[in-house]
């Protein structure tokens, strides 16, 4: 399989690879796992929230 990424996407992948101490392949595998997990939970009717405990702010993340 060949993965075509734009320059910006490639840069994001590079940055995540450094930040997470992972190879680029491992970053993509991790992203796929997380995406699949979220999809599975949403299909069960669960909701995904992002919480900022310092600002006492909680917002639902809408996924298409």
């Amino acid at each position: 399989m060949t993965l075509n990424l734009s320059e910006a996407e490639m840069q994001a992948l590079d940055e995540l690879s450094v930040k997470k101490d992972l190879s680029k392949t491992a970053v993509l595998r991790q992203a796929l796992r997380l995406y699949q997990t979220i999809e599975a939970r949403l299909e069960l009717g669960h909701k995904l929230f992002i919480e900022d405990t310092l600002q006492n702010d909680k917002s639902e993340l809408m996924l298409l």
Binding site: S23, R29, L34
Partner: protein, 204 residues
């Protein structure tokens, strides 16, 4: 890590002899069958004995309510979850479920992914807190599998878990994990983490 069996060695507690065993990188129907056929009756017998002897509930096996059939069904088809089993003498001796969607908390590795051990349980007859265990080394074999998976996933051996109070000394002393203290966000269970360096020392 292949899903096929790989050899591990347990110790027979009564004789001290080495017992050949296998590690499976999955929890299959046979393991659930063993859990239903052997683990549950053994656990019910233990609980009945503890109840009859008026042993305080705080000393009962804290994982007694774990339902491995349900836990296995929950992870079916999901890439983030993996199951492991240790088999000896044809019977499942230990089970573990891990989640790959967690990040480390120790300042030196905060935010980096790790293998999070959600559930790890040895068969009731192998629990040292109930009686003399039949086989020793099941927990270590499963933690080794978690570290090996972490290495394979490029996580450098990092693993993390919340420990039931009865297992804290195992993770702290036998596995050499860092104790980050009680987690108020997770039943006040102590959270333990293994760094890449600790993983190398553990595997030695």
């Amino acid at each position: 890590m292949s899903e096929g069996p790989s050899p591990v060695i347990l110790t027979d507690s009564s004789s001290g002899d080495a017992v050949p065993a296998i590690l499976l990188s999955q929890i299959g129907e046979e393991q659930i069958s063993d859990w239903n056929q052997y683990w549950r009756p053994a656990l019910e017998e233990t609980l009945a004995r503890l109840r009859a002897n008026q042993v305080p509930k705080s000393r009962w096996p804290q994982s007694a309510h774990w339902d491995w059939e349900f836990k296995t069904k929950q992870m079916r088809g999901l890439l983030a979850f993996r199951g492991f089993a240790v088999i000896a003498q044809g019977v499942t001796q230990g089970l573990m479920r891990v989640d790959l969607n967690h990040n480390a908390r120790l300042p030196a590795q905060a935010g980096k992914p790790l293998v999070y051990v959600e559930y790890l349980e040895t068969a009731p007859w192998n629990r040292s807190d109930i009686a003399t265990p039949r086989y020793r080394g099941v927990g270590s074999a499963l933690i080794t599998a978690a570290v090996d998976l972490s290495l394979e996933e490029d996580f450098r051996g990092r693993i993390g878990l919340h420990s039931l109070t009865q297992a804290e000394s195992f993770y702290r002393d036998a596995c050499g994990m860092s104790d980050l203290g009680p987690d108020t966000m997770y039943f006040n269970l102590r959270y333990f983490e293994m760094t890449a360096q600790q993983a190398t020392a553990f595997l030695r």
